[in-house]
Amino acid sequence: MDTESTYSGYSYYSSHSKKSHRQGERTRERHKSPRNKDGRGSEKSVTIQAPTGEPLLANDSTRTEEVQDDNWGETTTAITGTSEHSISQEDIARISKDMEDSVGLDCKRYLGLTIASFLGLLVFLTPIAFILLPPILWRDELEPCGTICEGLFISVSFKLLILLIGTWALFFRKQRADVPRVFVFRALLLVLIFLFVVSYWLFYGVRILDSRDRNYQGIVQYSVSLVDALLFIHYLAIVLLELRQLQPMFTLQVVRSTDGESRFYSLGHLSIQRAALVVLENYYKDFTIYNPNLLTASKFRAAKHMAGLKVYNVDGPSNNATGQSRAMIAAAARRRDSSHNELYYEEAEHERRVKKRRARLVVAVEEAFIHIQRLQAEEQQKAPGEVMDPREAAQAIFPSMARALQKYLRTTRQQHYHSMESILQHLAFCITNSMTPKAFLERYLSAGPTLQYDKERWLSTQWRLISDEAVTNGLRDGIVFVLKCLDFSLVVNVKKIPFIVLSEEFIDPKSHKFVLRLQSETSV
């Protein structure tokens, strides 16, 4: 169905798209015309936008969207379920950039992985090699070593098993993110293990292999001591990598640059890049989804404020640009305009409209839900013709609420976050789980976090960490770093949790005594 293609929403991704600019201008035109009484006729705000290079395909789809606005709200009788995606030039550029970047990072990731696994293998096989080499090389000269050695063999094998399980549990985890710099503690631990094993091999090679030591029990005990030391290094790894950052020491304030929405998170001692990872993981579930359409209006208001002012230099030619700008700002500030008035009335009008459409929507949805009834198991056999599964039931009641829902989404500027397919799916989901109309509507009445929406569309996986300090440094009070993605950035401010002085005061429960007195009486 061709209406699906106009609803794909790809071309609305970035806030610089022409459509949102045009839509913003159109609303301003509509609001300007009735109030154009004081003769400020040619007061068009001129904003220069760099051409985004959207091909004709995207332009066509936006134009047809304007024309066929209410289309899917009214012609939803036949649903074929096909969807066509239109991809704009922007997205092609973005995809190719993704591919370029990922090649470089994959190499780095795999390099780290191979080093670590090679080292792990070396470490694991070393005690076994220590034990097996003497019998292989000089079996005849070895002193026989009975039960003690067998006991030590058992202990070595179990300790190695424990080490294997512990290493698997701690380190063999799917890497969940690509970070710019290597993790300092992990690198240090790998170096430590490497040096440790090398020094053991050195000692072994010089003292035991070369001199063909005959005391087999001593050799076995040497390898047992190696395994013990490895277990302790594993303990050190747990403490450094996992336990140290559990106790919260810092509170991070994360502010989104476009609309100021902010959240606070508590973290322990982490490096800046790890803190950034934690912030991003929480961003997708805590922050409401970024909506560029809500931001366009303020730029036009501000631009209009300065429009129409020009600086004439009466004293002769001078190139004082700062002075001219200052003069313009001062003049604009003194100027009496009614833009605050416009803003107030516009916002009040918008509120009223949203509330009205919301009321219509709630009523329409409630009426639609009344028609659906769940069939019990016995009744299902009685009327086989009319029985529907959730998807069909959703499609049956969707037309009655489609128009109201679409109008509401357009008024609150969320229309491109919800495609018809996603609405139908959500409706089928609510019907299956016997949810009330209010539960169904909640997703549309208030903006939710980014994870709630179609993940492939709105989740940006490319982030850049901008920081004055090295990103492997630990967090400190007062550090500010910025996480930037294509459309907006998150400014993170680190504050230390204050040192709290807690003292105790004992109040005997029996000392809570009260008396009724209408007048105070004190004995002196």
Partner: protein, 96 residues
Amino acid sequence: SGSNPGRPRCPQRVEIHKLRQGENLILGFSIGGGIDQDPSQNPFSEDKTDKVNGWDMTMVTHDQARKRLTKRSEEVVRLLVTRQSLQKAVQQSMLS
């Protein structure tokens, strides 16, 4: 504490030396009233204190009055009191 303008006023000067009880200096009686209290609910209506050691007590709250009387640095408290019994006696003598 208040004042009745119509009646004959007989203020009496009373000097009290504080007693030592443990480590506190006490006077040995209880006070009630104050401008922050309800005058109709006053538990004591016999003696009204006008001054304590020179400080005016006609417009003080209960807590302020208590503080003025229980200063640790003063061992002697000089009160200017208006006593009802005394007033009645004077009235009677003036009438007769």
